[in-house]
Structure formats: C-alpha cells, structure tokens
C-alpha cells in the first residue's frame, strides 16, 4: 500500500501515548491513546480540569505535548503541521473575539489564515446557517454572548474543515441556541465532518454523540459507543407501587434483592440494563404467585450522568 492510500484510510485523528506536563508541574495528560473515526461525533466528557481542553489544544497546535504522537488524517501535527491544521476547525471554550472587527471581516480573516482564497458564497452559507447573515456588518463587540459564540463557530467553519472541535460549545448558552447548535452539528455530520465536542452537559453527549470518552485526571478512563456504554453500565430500576404497604420483603423474592421504599408502599428492583430480559417477567410471575398486588409500575433507566458520576467517583 503506498503512502497516499495509507493516508486515505487513516482515522480522522490518531493519538498515541500523548502526555502533557505544564511548566508549573501540573500533569494535565498522562499517556492518552485515542482514535477518532472519520465522520463520527465523539464526545469527551469529564469534570473541570480533567484535561479535555489540553487534549484539544495539543491536537490543534496551541499546546506543545511533552510526549506522544498525534496524526490528523494521517498527517503528523508536528512534522506535517500545515496539512494537519488545515483540516481542523476549532471553536474555543472562551469567547475570544476581535471586538472591533465586523462579523464579515473576521470570518474572511479566518478563511485567509487557513490558506484559502476568498469565497463569498461559502462564507454567506456559513453565516446564514448560523443566523448571522443579518449581523454580518455589525461589530462583534455589539453582539450578545450567544451571537459571539455563533461567530466563533462561523470562524471555525470558514475554511471548510473536515474535523471540527467544539470545546464546551453550549456552556452558558440559552436553550434555543443550544438546539440550533445541535441541529448544526447534525448537518455538518451529514456532510461528512468529524466532530469532537467536550462538554459537561451529559444530556448533550447523550443527545449527540456516537461514541463517548470519559476523561478524569488526565486519563482517558473509558472510550465506548454511547449505546454500549449505556447498556453496559446503565442501571435500570423497576418500581412497583403496592396496593397495601409491606413491612418486609417476602422471603420468596430474595433472589431479586428488592428494597422497600416510601414507607413500605413501593418495591424497588435495581438491575443492570444488560440483564433485564429474563428478570422482570420472572419477578412479576413470582409476585403473582405470592399474591402481592400492585396498582402501578414504572421503570427508569439511568442516564449517562449517573454512569459518569459512578465512573469518576470510582477513580477518586
């Protein structure tokens, strides 16, 4: 296989043994290995200070790694930085904008910076996609925070990147913009753009991501398909609302480890989502056999947030 074919088949991003220790001695990343597939939406989850932004900053060339190697579509980010960086668009977490520039001026600047000739039609499309077209002649300093966030996204898309990094894209953003942004991310994915987003809004990852990586204290502790992760670690809970309160769980139900709640009026059965199939019908049959009457029942599946809290606290 020649080099060109090798590059074509390469994953969007391939990170091997990446470590970063800042001059202050802070070890932000400890040997991270990660592959991002082409065209996927990958969510990096983790508490503040876990190393998410450092990871992104290294890939984008803003932070120099202490050790390790990063390939962007087969291009080394150090040796072949031009090819690597030209494929990436970055939307930073902080609202860093040139206050005195116009919206149009700043997106034009971004496109040129990435080596592309002016293309008014593309920039217009980007601005319209982000509902910024009407504001194109406004100075950035006159825009609201949400609008500034849109401007940063427009800047990142000005050079038609194949990979888009969104660092906390919806932090401090209102519900409407959040929905807009999710819709935009989906549209981009349909066009084949690979998207990596960091967030601590679990619902965002749950809503958007194909795969999820959990970062904690500079380590990538889990990388998994979202559905697999939820299936594997997700807990389900069945609550039975009883006709008559109980004082103790009947001995015949011992194998399910049931818990009495709400003053004995509810029976709770907690189980891993992956083992649900046989357990519930059997439990319900046994309840019928024992003559335990219930007026209602509901099940609750734990969210990614519950999973995430469990994962991070296990490590703590």
């Amino acid at each position: 296989m020649d080099r060109a074919a090798h590059v074509e088949a390469a994953p969007a991003i391939s990170i091997a043994g990446l470590a970063k220790t800042y001059a202050s001695g802070l070890q932000a990343l400890k040997r991270v290995d990660l592959e991002i597939r082409r065209g996927e939406i990958f969510a990096l989850l983790g508490p503040n200070g876990a190393g998410k932004t450092t990871l992104i900053s290294v890939v984008c060339g803003i932070v120099t790694p202490t050790a390790g190697r990063v390939l962007v579509e087969g291009h080394d980010i150090v040796r072949d930085y031009r090819a690597a960086r030209s494929k990436i668009g970055l939307v930073p977490q902080e609202l860093h904008t040139d206050m005195f520039e116009s919206v149009w001026g700043t997106v034009r600047f971004s496109r040129g910076l990435f080596g592309l000739p002016p293309d008014a039609a593309h920039l217009e499309r980007v601005l319209r996609d982000l509902s910024l077209w009407e504001k194109r002649n406004d100075k950035i300093m006159t825009l609201s925070g949400g609008m500034k966030r849109r401007v940063l996204i427009a800047k990142a898309l000005a050079h038609e990147p194949e990979i888009l990094f969104l660092d906390e894209p919806t932090a401090g953003v209102d519900v409407e913009l959040r929905r807009d942004m999710w819709a935009l991310v989906r549209r981009l994915r349909e066009r084949g753009v690979t998207i990596i987003l960091t967030t601590h809004y679990i619902e965002e990852a749950e809503e958007m991501a194909d795969r999820i990586g959990v970062v904690s204290k500079g380590e990538l502790i889990v990388v998994e398909e979202k559905t697999t992760l939820m299936k594997k670690l997700g807990k389900k809970q069945l609550t039975l609302h009883l006709e008559a309160p109980m004082t103790a769980v009947p001995a015949g139900l011992a194998e399910w480890n049931l818990v009495l709640a709400n003053g004995g009026t509810e029976l709770e059965y907690t189980f891993l989502a992956s083992e649900e199939r046989a357990a519930i019908p059997a439990l319900l049959r046994r309840l019928g056999d024992l003559g335990v009457a219930y007026k209602d029942l509901n099940t609750h599946q734990s969210s990614l947030e519950d999973i995430f809290v469990t994962l991070v606290s296990e490590r703590a």
């Binding site: 060109a4 690597a84 904008t97 971004s110 040129g112 910076l113």
Partner: protein, 262 residues
C-alpha cells in the same frame, strides 16, 4: 491523495490575512497612528526649527531646522514601529484571539511577515508623512533618495521586529511601554536626533559611539545631506547587525514557543 488536500508550501493567503487585519486596525485608529505623530512633529519644528533654530548656527553646513528632519523622522519611526508591532501581537495574546493564529497552518516566518510587515509599512508611511510635513516648515533636500528609502525601510523593519519581540515578552500593558519609554527614547535623544555628536565634548562623544541609535540616525542623515557623524558603511553595518539580532531572537521565540505556547 488528491491535490485538493495538499497544502501550498507558502501560505500567501495567511500572510495577507494577517497583514490586512493589521492595516485595518490602523485605519480604525487613524487619529492615533497618524495624526498624533504629525502634530507632535510639527510642534518640534515650531519649537526647534522656528523658535530656537533661528538662533542656532548651521550644523555641517545645514540650517538647524533642516538638520533635525532626519532625526525627527527616525524618532517617530522608532516609537511607532515599536508600539505598532508590539501592540499588534500583544493584543491577540491579551484577548486570547491568538489561539486562531497558533492553530492555523501559518509558519513562524509567515506570521512575522504579516505582523511585522504591516507594522513596518505603517511606519514607513508615517515617516513619509512626517517628511512631507517637514517641507512645510523647512527646506529639505535629499541627496541620496535610494539610500534614504533603504535606511527608512530597514530601520522600520528592524524596530518592528524588535516591537514584535517586546509584544511577545510583555506580560502586561506597562511592560509594553517599558522599553520604548526607558530605553529607546533616551537613546534617541542622546543619539544625535537634535545635534551632531561632534558638538559634544570629547568624552561624551566617545561614550555616544556605544549608542546604536547614533549609527541609525547618522546614516539616515547622510542620505539627506551627505554629512555624517560616523562612516556610512559603519552605519549600514550596525543597522544590519541590529536587524540580524532581532531576527535571531524571533527565531528563538518560535523555536521554543516562548510565551506563545505552553
């Protein structure tokens, strides 16, 4: 791989983007970047040219008012190059917008070309505007226009490079002002902007020769009136040496990522 994904060896668009951005910044602050220096220079002519100059004898056969023109141009060139270039790179560091330039496929050389090129252009324009202003007050002649242009461009570029270094080194706005105020202004005033160092007593004259600014002003004045405090070749050599020193420092900055990357 298709040619579409191959990146050009030189990011011309990137250089142009930075250059245009910096020039646009100057247009927004036209008053500050052009009108203020012109007014200051006019005041110098009123004070030194008309009020005091009329009582001064000629220096090296040149009327005092005309004699100070090259020195005044240099003074403006130093300060404006430094402040323009240092502010140009410090501002994105301060506001955080530098992230975009650092994450772009822009090489250090291209970054310097954009920022320093724009700062030097502005300084050269300013120098020429001051020259035009001077002709309203005093008779100015230029014996060697080619050399005049060469010294103008070289000095503007060198001090813009120096300003770029300061802009990367500075940790705050006060440090941005520190070197121009405490080092450059005294060196310029003592560097023969307003007098020929031959007018100084012996010891001070020798002492002056350690001031690099003397060589810059002397060479520049020679291109106007054909007279110089030190040899023209030496002036040119010193200017080039200072230019190379700044280049080396910039090269080191990018090699180590000093205060640009963590």
């Amino acid at each position: 791989m298709s040619t579409a994904t191959r990146f050009p060896a030189f990011n011309r668009q990137g250089v142009l983007a930075i250059y245009r951005f910096e020039m646009a910044r100057a247009r927004r602050t036209l008053w500050q970047s052009l009108v203020t220096p012109v007014i200051t220079t006019s005041l110098y002519f009123v004070v030194f040219g008309a009020a005091i100059g009329s009582r001064m004898s000629e220096v090296d056969g040149v009327a005092y008012g005309a004699f100070i023109v090259p020195g005044l141009m240099m003074l403006a060139l130093f300060t404006e190059s430094l402040s323009n270039a240092s502010f140009g790179i410090y501002l994105p560091r301060f506001t955080g917008t530098i992230y975009e330039v650092l994450s772009a496929p822009v090489s250090p050389l291209e970054m310097v070309l954009g920022y320093v090129g724009a700062a030097a252009t502005k300084s050269v324009i300013l120098g020429l505007v001051i020259l035009a202003t001077a002709t309203f007050f005093v008779p100015v002649r230029i014996l060697h226009p080619g050399w005049m242009a060469a010294f103008l461009v070289l000095t503007a570029t060198t001090f813009s490079l120096f300003g770029f270094i300061i802009g990367i080194w500075a940790k705050g706005f006060e440090q941005l002002q520190f070197i121009p105020m405490l080092v450059i202004t005294p060196l310029t005033f003592l560097g023969g902007a307003f007098y020929s160092i031959d007018m100084l007593p012996g010891a001070w004259r020798t002492f002056s020769l350690f001031n690099p600014v003397v060589y810059l002003i002397s060479g520049f004045r020679w291109s106007f009136y054909g007279t110089a405090d030190v040899g023209v070749a030496l002036s040119l050599a010193m200017t080039l040496a200072f230019f190379c020193l700044c280049l080396a420092l910039v090269w080191w900055i990018f090699r180590t990522g000093y205060r640009l990357k963590s």
